[in-house]
């Protein structure tokens, strides 16, 4: 573990990423304390530019809401959407990929057809249809994102499992009398974990982008202040009050960037090739 940490820290970008993300997480957690009032509250006249008033650091939006408060509460939503949808996607993709890779043959064929099917549908279009059908609410936004983002997980896990499956320690486990489930959960998945973790960090980033795209099209949960919502709402005034879309845009950019950097750092730190060398 210490080893891992040391390798991770060797990547300067990854450290910066971790720093940014920690900051975002802190803001998200502390949002209710820092901005106890609802981010929807209209506190001042609309379109106050940033830094023009002491207590409204980033100014106000089209209906006079505190942009800073929106940003803080939006951090929570974006992270929540990113994390939960990724977890759900993993919960779908990992079992499917693992079963496909482990049992191979017909099971693999069937599961992979199923995955392919979901990959053939343009994912963003599917998300739109899902949300039109089930009405936008946070839960369904998360579900929709998860549904369109699990196939790569399944493919990755399958590939990993396929290559792990023939490793001798798996055969040894079979001979030791372990059941399939035990072998998958105890021996295969832990070893497939590094690439899954890396992918997951990218998926969180993608989910945040997807949520913002959906919000932008008006398919977000209207009761929830998210960054995508803020951009979507501000796009109509992008010309005069460009900062209203710029600020949350930067927030998304930075967070996604941070997640990517972390992903890269994890990739380096978890890379078996590098790991083996410093054994």
């Amino acid at each position: 573990m210490r080893d891992f940490w040391k390798r991770y820290c060797r990547n300067r970008g990854a450290l910066i990423g971790l720093l940014i993300l920690t900051l975002v997480i802190l803001i998200a957690i502390l949002a209710p304390l820092l901005f106890p009032q609802s981010p929807w509250k209209m506190v001042q006249r609309p379109f106050l530019p940033p830094f023009s008033q002491g207590d409204l650091l980033l100014g106000t939006d089209a209906v006079g809401r505190d942009v800073m408060a929106g940003l803080a509460h939006g951090a929570y939503v974006s992270l929540l959407v990113g994390l939960v949808s990724t977890i759900v996607a993993l919960a779908i993709g990992v079992p499917i990929g693992a079963s496909a890779g482990y049992f191979a043959g017909r099971v693999d064929d069937a599961l992979m057809r199923f995955t392919e099917f979901f990959q053939t549908i343009p994912s963003f279009a599917l998300a739109i249809v899902l949300l039109a059908t089930f009405q936008p609410s946070l839960t369904f936004v998360i579900i929709a994102i998860a549904i369109v983002s699990w196939p790569p997980v399944a493919r990755l896990v399958r590939g990993e499992v396929l290559s792990l499956r023939t490793r001798e320690f798996i055969e040894a486990a079979t001979l030791s009398g372990l059941g399939n489930l035990q072998i998958i959960t105890r021996h295969i998945l832990p070893n497939a974990l590094p690439p899954i973790i890396v992918l997951a960090s990218l998926m969180v980033a993608q989910a945040i982008l997807l949520e913002s795209s959906l919000s932008f099209l008006g398919l977000g949960d209207p009761n929830i202040m998210s960054w995508g919502y803020m951009i979507g709402a501000a796009r109509t005034v992008i010309r005069e009050q460009w900062w209203l879309s710029f600020i949350p845009g930067m927030a998304i950019l930075l967070t996604v960037l941070a997640l990517n950097l972390i992903g890269e750092g994890l990739n380096d730190a978890l890379n078996p090739r590098l790991t083996r060398k410093s054994k």
Partner: protein
């Protein structure tokens, strides 16, 4: 006059490597037409020293002092451009892994012609001519066809020949061969060695040959260098070093070579009930999933194999690569489902036994795997590796741990090993853990598939001793799969010889090794390198 002269060469390793220097204060000379062998255990710096001559050290690995004189100039001082002119034309190199050393997307011919192109030699048509001639010269069958083939269409031995053809294209002064035969089976190895020997003679080319196989050294070397942890510990003519080693390390290495001849415990009598009987076992693979141009290919990996294994007996299964040894072993433990035939384990047929029942029976028959790296889950502690089997079969965790401790002691490991991860052990220690795992379930039979092939000679010897010892103490029966006849000779009571999926010869080890019935077995025996040397050693000893 020496062609190449290395003086006090020290090669530094980047930070975080296992030691500071890949090689330290290396000095040696190479004369034209001479074959110089570099031997030593894995990681001793053989490859790095050779790569330094080519100017092909990996990133971060740099020569820090010393000089390499070739043709009157210090290679280390040459610019990249000047090095380009040398590489491939004056000094050539071939590598160990024949599969990955060729570009998978380029035709063989093109890859050879590239050498001429790189040095601006010959015209297009002539290059093709030359490539054909080279392929013929290295003994590729049907060069007209092969020249248009892709690497994956060739066997390992053929690929290695292509590599050699490439290295020889511009008739270099020096050929560096870094373990060129390690991945090949004995027969192919013998052919390649002969090829190198011939070429050397014909062209008066100097060869630096890196290997850890003393048999090979004995067969081809003029002079020998022995390396240990980056330093040259001994150097001299082949005879001096091999027969009268001065340094204790060299001594130890030579001691550890298993002998083909010598006393075998002798076949046990075919007494009592066999613990394992294999009857008419067949395994057919069909490959080519039909994904693209799906022609199905059917491989009869094992055909109609039958034999008995008695209590306390060790049977060696030998044969060239691809002859079906592993497949046979894996069918017996049911890691593969046999296509046909019976496998009677203590009287019961497990060949087609379904899940739960099979699981119950299978604990009686365990396996030791080839690769000590991939046969242990890198994320499991040793305690878990040793206990999860017994626990799965109903032992309490406490009992299982106790037993695991005993097993570790049995295979000669400290009890503190329990809480460590596999990567914290050396290859030999790992193989011991693998053995302990196989024994944890109290099997009657152990199948060892190339259990010592991946190990250095010295460690190989230790593990073989351990196995022999355990077998005697626990009265185990063992199937010992190997392609190394020396190893088989050392440990087996009886030997089964396989060729193309069939058992073609079975008999007591002595008989099979001294006086085989089939030509095939004889050819296998003949291909073993270093037999004269062994005799000489025996004579000397």
């Amino acid at each position: 006059m020496s062609l190449l002269s290395i003086r006090d060469l020290t090669i530094a390793l980047p930070e975080g490597a296992d030691r500071d220097h890949a090689a330290r204060d290396i000095s040696f000379d190479l004369a034209p037409g001479e074959i110089l062998c570099i031997v030593g255990e894995s990681g001793s710096g053989k490859s790095m020293s050779a790569n330094a001559v080519m100017g092909l050290l990996p990133e971060g690995v740099t020569p820090v002092s010393g000089r390499i004189d070739f043709d009157g100039r210090d290679i280390l001082g040459l610019s990249e451009k000047e090095m380009l002119a040398l590489r491939g034309s004056r000094i050539s190199m071939i590598f160990q892994e024949p599969l990955s050393a060729l570009n998978p997307l380029m035709r063989i011919g093109a890859q050879i012609e590239e050498v001429f192109e790189a040095h601006g030699a010959l015209s297009g048509a002539e290059r093709h001519e030359q490539a054909l001639r080279l392929l013929t010269e290295v003994g590729i069958p049907d060069p007209q066809v092969t020249i248009r083939a892709y690497p994956f269409q060739l066997s390992g031995g053929q690929r290695q020949r292509v590599m050699i053809a490439m290295a020889l294209a511009l008739e270099p002064d020096i050929l560096i061969a870094d373990e060129p035969t390690t991945a090949l089976d004995v027969t192919t190895q013998a052919q390649i060695l002969e090829l190198i020997e011939n070429l050397r003679r014909k062209r008066n080319m100097a060869v630096i040959f890196i290997t850890h196989d003393f048999g090979v050294v004995a067969d081809i070397a003029d002079r020998v260098i022995v390396m240990q942890t980056g330093e040259i510990v001994e150097t001299g003519s082949a005879d001096e070093v091999l027969l009268h080693p001065q340094h204790p390390y060299t001594n130890a290495l030579i001691e550890a070579i298993p002998r083909l001849t010598g006393d075998h415990s002798g076949g046990r009598g075919d007494t009592g009930e066999p613990v394992l009987s294999v009857e008419g076992l067949c395994k057919t693979f069909s490959t080519g999933s039909g994904k693209f141009f799906g022609k199905r290919r059917v491989v009869d990996a094992v055909q109609d194999a039958s034999f008995h294994l008695y209590k306390g007996e060790t049977i060696g299964i030998v044969g060239e690569s691809g002859s079906g040894k592993s497949t046979l072993g894996r069918c017996i433990v049911r890691l593969l489902a046999p296509s046909k035939g019976r496998v009677l384990l203590e009287g019961e047929d497990i060949a087609h036994m379904p899940g739960a029942e099979l699981r119950e029976r299978r604990r009686r028959i365990q396996m030791i795997f080839q690769d000590p790296f991939s046969s242990l889950n890198p994320r499991s502690r040793v305690s878990r590796i040793l206990t999860e089997g017994p626990i799965a079969y109903g032992a309490t965790p406490g009992d299982a741990r106790k037993r695991a401790g005993e097993l570790l002691e049995l295979v000669g490991l400290d009890a503190s090993a329990m809480s460590r991860f596999p990567h914290e052990f050396s290859g030999g220690q790992r193989q011991r853990i693998g053995i302990a795992r196989a024994l944890a379930l109290d099997p009657a039979i152990v199948i060892a598939d190339e259990a010592v092939s991946a190990l250095d000679v010295s460690i190989q010897a230790q593990v073989l001793d351990l196995l022999a010892d355990l077998k005697a103490r626990l009265n185990l029966s063992m199937l010992f799969i190997t392609h190394d006849l020396r190893v088989a000779a050392r440990i087996c009571d009886r030997i089964i010889v396989m060729q193309k999926g069939r058992i073609i010869e079975t008999g007591p080890a002595d008989k099979v090794l001294r006086d085989p019935d089939t030509d095939y077995t004889r050819s296998l025996l003949d291909a073993i390198p270093g037999q004269d040397y062994e005799r000489a050693l025996a004579g000397a000893g």
